[in-house]
């Protein structure tokens, strides 16, 4: 049984002090990840201070490549089913996202995926989702 992806409206992310560069970059098609300037480690979700050492952080462009760590297809209570997932990026951090533009019933943990930005409601910035490679 197949379950082809059909979009639901995605709520726009709230712009908050400190996260604007991420959403501004998303509007230009760029996907940013925060790295620590002190311990050099990446982290997710983006923070002002590194959650490993409290060092200062900076934005770097991410590869947009990853692997599905876990997923669940929500089948009830919405216009269309959708697949929430954790994707582990090539950079080594794992982020919450959705898997899109595919047969949701065929998705597997461990599958390789790549980034695709999806628009949000009310002309909000696009958000990073993923689709199978």
């Amino acid at each position: 049984m197949t379950m082809m992806y059909q979009p639901n409206p995605l709520p726009a992310p709230a712009k908050e002090p400190g996260n604007e560069p991420f959403w501004d970059a998303a509007r230009t098609g760029k996907f940013l990840v925060k790295f620590c300037t002190s311990c050099k480690k990446p982290h997710w979700y983006p923070r002002a201070l590194c959650p490993f050492c409290f060092g200062e952080t900076e934005w770097k462009e991410g590869s947009g490549k990853g692997v599905i760590y876990s997923l669940s297809v929500m089948q009830r209570g919405n216009p269309n089913p959708y697949c929430i997932a954790y994707v582990t990026l090539e950079e080594g951090v794992t982020m919450m996202t959705q898997i899109v533009d595919c047969d949701l019933a065929a998705l597997k943990i461990g599958q390789k995926v790549k980034l695709v930005f999806k628009p949000t409601e009310g002309d909000g910035p696009p958000v990073p989702t993923f689709t199978p490679v």
């Binding site: 992310p13 997710w44 979700y45 490993f52 669940s72 929430i84 919450m96 959705q98």
Partner: protein, 389 residues
């Protein structure tokens, strides 16, 4: 300083309602408090400590303390860790009593999500200034799919099956048939669970807890008070609390905070999981139980599926009787928070006041454990070890 043997649970009351469209949340808090006081044989003016969490309307505990007429408070705490808050409250009350900050502490919970039509399938709005929300809310995280991702990873890592998870619901239903207040009293089979509609893969409708209106209350007291009352003595022997989130992006859904809260509680109590005769295990979903059984040390990591199969959680049948009131899966999950009912049923078991059909023989040591928040995102864990004195 340890809280071991420094405080007793002298009152425990589960509100009998499961649907209360005509009562306010504050009223259910107060009725629950009244019930626990009556159970203990104490009165309103005796209370000098009060604890509640986010289900209580108002600012911290201020509005509820005023509504209920708690005018002698010397120690208060509104620690909020979702559904496990109330187990942490028991621990904090015991700490306060041990430190001489209060002698008789009241803990209340109440809510009416069933009347309000709220469940674990809807997004929760906790505020826009929460730092993770912009990076998660657009993707549709709700309660059920957060827990479902934990289940999916467990199946991937350890080969756990939907049928094994179903055994947890089957066990709960065997207990609920004896509870006249339980929302769901029909005994179900593994087939019933796996053939119920998928809500969020791999969790089915019958993998999910009930949505009920209701409430509960506990009274924790100084040993001198406990020994002056006429009720069987239940003492707090150990407690642990922990939180776990996404670890800065090193997400690991294969274990929960129970690993740390359980170890702390067992260490304080000076016992091991093998000593526990009865366990109240938080059961928002079947996977919640499986994770906690492993992380608390009742079985090895990855072997939870095997452990729960064939009825090991059923009282009188298996090795570890659990949730003999029917739990959140069948009986009650008031305010979408199951922590206080976990403690209440453990107290019933230790007093020998559980339903005779599910009462564990010689029940002298019990564990109650709660998981609050979202297991697959960020959650609190709280473990209590209680003893019949």
């Amino acid at each position: 300083m340890t809280i071991r043997d420094k405080a007793y649970i002298v009152g425990a009351y589960e509100h009998p309602t499961r649907k209360a469209p005509d009562k306010s949340v504050a009223q259910i808090h107060a009725e629950s408090a009244k019930g626990a006081l009556a159970d203990a044989g104490l009165s309103l003016s005796d209370i000098d400590g009060y604890y509640c969490a986010g289900d209580a309307p108002g600012l911290g505990m201020l509005n509820m303390a005023d509504y209920m007429g708690l005018t002698n408070l010397r120690h208060v705490d509104s620690t909020e860790t979702g559904g496990c808050s109330y187990l942490i409250h028991v621990s904090h009350a015991a700490q306060a009593i041990a430190a001489g900050k209060c002698k008789i502490a009241l803990i209340t919970l109440a809510g009416r999500p069933r009347s309000a039509g709220s469940s674990g399938m809807q997004p929760r709005s906790w505020g826009v200034d929460i730092p993770d929300v912009p990076f998660e809310a657009p993707f549709g995280p709700v309660t059920v799919n957060s827990y479902a991702m934990v289940a999916a990873r467990h199946m991937y890592e350890y080969g756990t099956t939907a049928e094994q998870l179903a055994w947890i619901k089957v066990a709960a239903s065997h207990h609920a048939q004896h509870n006249p207040h339980a929302m769901l009293r029909d005994v179900v089979t593994v087939e019933d669970v796996v053939n119920s509609p998928l809500v969020s893969t791999p969790l089915h409708r019958l993998d999910c807890c009930v949505v009920s209106d209701g409430g509960g209350a506990l009274i924790v007291a100084h040993p001198d008070i406990a020994k002056s009352l006429k009720r069987p003595l239940v003492k707090v022997r150990g407690a642990g609390e922990a939180t776990k989130g996404q670890l800065g992006g090193h997400v690991d859904l294969t274990y929960s905070g129970a690993r740390r809260s359980g170890a702390a509680a067992f260490e304080e109590a000076g016992i091991t999981p093998q000593d526990i005769k009865y366990a109240s295990i938080y059961d928002s979903f079947t996977i919640t139980v499986l994770m906690q059984l492993e992380d608390l040390g009742f079985c090895k990591k990855g072997e939870g599926g095997k452990f729960v199969s064939d009825g090991n959680l059923i009282s009188g049948v298996g090795k570890l009787p659990f949730n003999t009131d029917g739990g959140g899966l069948c009986n009650n999950h008031p305010a979408n928070r199951g922590g206080i009912t976990k403690v209440i049923e453990a107290v019933r078991q230790l007093r020998g006041e559980a339903h005779p059909a599910v009462q564990v023989k010689n029940c002298d040591l019990a564990l109650a454990h709660g998981t609050g928040g979202l297991l697959g995102a960020r959650h609190g864990s709280a473990t209590l070890i209680l003893e019949r004195a």
